[in-house]
């Protein structure tokens, strides 16, 4: 299983902070497509993604237990 984390406006849109789904073997891009189809989310294609707290490209393959976080444009500072 995989934990998916949403932040900022993505969390507001998803109306939840996290989600447990099985994403093993999928690429990040495939996961984004699936989530956009099944949940009321804004387009995720260009949203940054972190797996286990490190930024990853869209072709990264998801492993069992990976925590996947979608990182909207940051605005700290």
């Amino acid at each position: 299983m995989n934990k998916i984390l949403f932040f900022a406006h993505l969390r507001d849109a998803a109306d939840r902070e996290e989600l447990q789904i099985k994403a093993v073997g999928k690429t990040v891009a495939e996961l984004k497509t699936e989530l956009m189809k099944n949940y009321d989310l804004p387009q995720l294609e260009t949203v940054m993604t972190a797996i286990n707290e490190e930024f990853v490209p869209d072709d990264e393959i998801i492993h069992d237990g990976d925590v996947i976080a979608f990182i909207p444009s940051v605005s700290g500072g």
Binding site: F55, S73, G77
Partner: protein, 154 residues
């Protein structure tokens, strides 16, 4: 811990104290505060949110980048989250180096990198509404899946 996310007001002196070094000839301190007016629009308060564990890692990464680029630099960064009112301190960056020019440059580098790679978001609250700050249409594509130097906001 030289890199922190804090739910409490930041003690500026304690951040500075973390970079005190006998070899240092300069310490620069950047204090980011909550501004009332942005493009003429009046902010009432801000809410900062972070992916805390990753944010601490990314702050530490920035410190490491600085220590590689400016030898003998020492860095400490604390970013506050939660509700912040106008004039409150949102971020404190302290950098010590043997010579002052490096301390200024490295400190500037730190705040610009925070705005690129640290997962912290702010929501502005106005009299007539609220919104997360940033490019919410996500129209900026990051081919490598992460921001590059140069993808600066603000």
């Amino acid at each position: 811990m030289r890199y922190e996310i804090s739910k409490e007001p930041i003690n500026i002196q304690s951040v500075i104290d973390k970079v005190v070094e006998r070899e240092a000839g300069a310490i620069t301190t950047f204090i980011g505060t909550v501004r009332e007016l942005t493009d003429g629009k009046k902010t009432l308060y801000l809410i900062y949110e972070a992916y805390e564990t990753m944010a601490v890692k990314k702050l530490a990464q920035i410190g490491k980048e600085i220590e590689e680029r400016w030898p003998k630099a020492k860095v400490a960064i604390t970013h506050r989250i939660g509700r912040l009112d106008i004039t409150d301190v949102a971020v404190v960056i302290a950098v010590s180096t043997p010579h002052r020019a490096d301390a200024y440059e490295a400190n500037r580098y730190a705040i610009e990198r925070i705005k690129e790679i640290v997962p912290i978001w702010k929501k502005e609250h106005w009299e007539d509404g609220e919104a997360w700050v940033g490019n919410q249409l996500e129209t900026v594509a990051y081919p490598s899946g992460k921001p590059e130097e140069g993808d600066l906001h603000e």
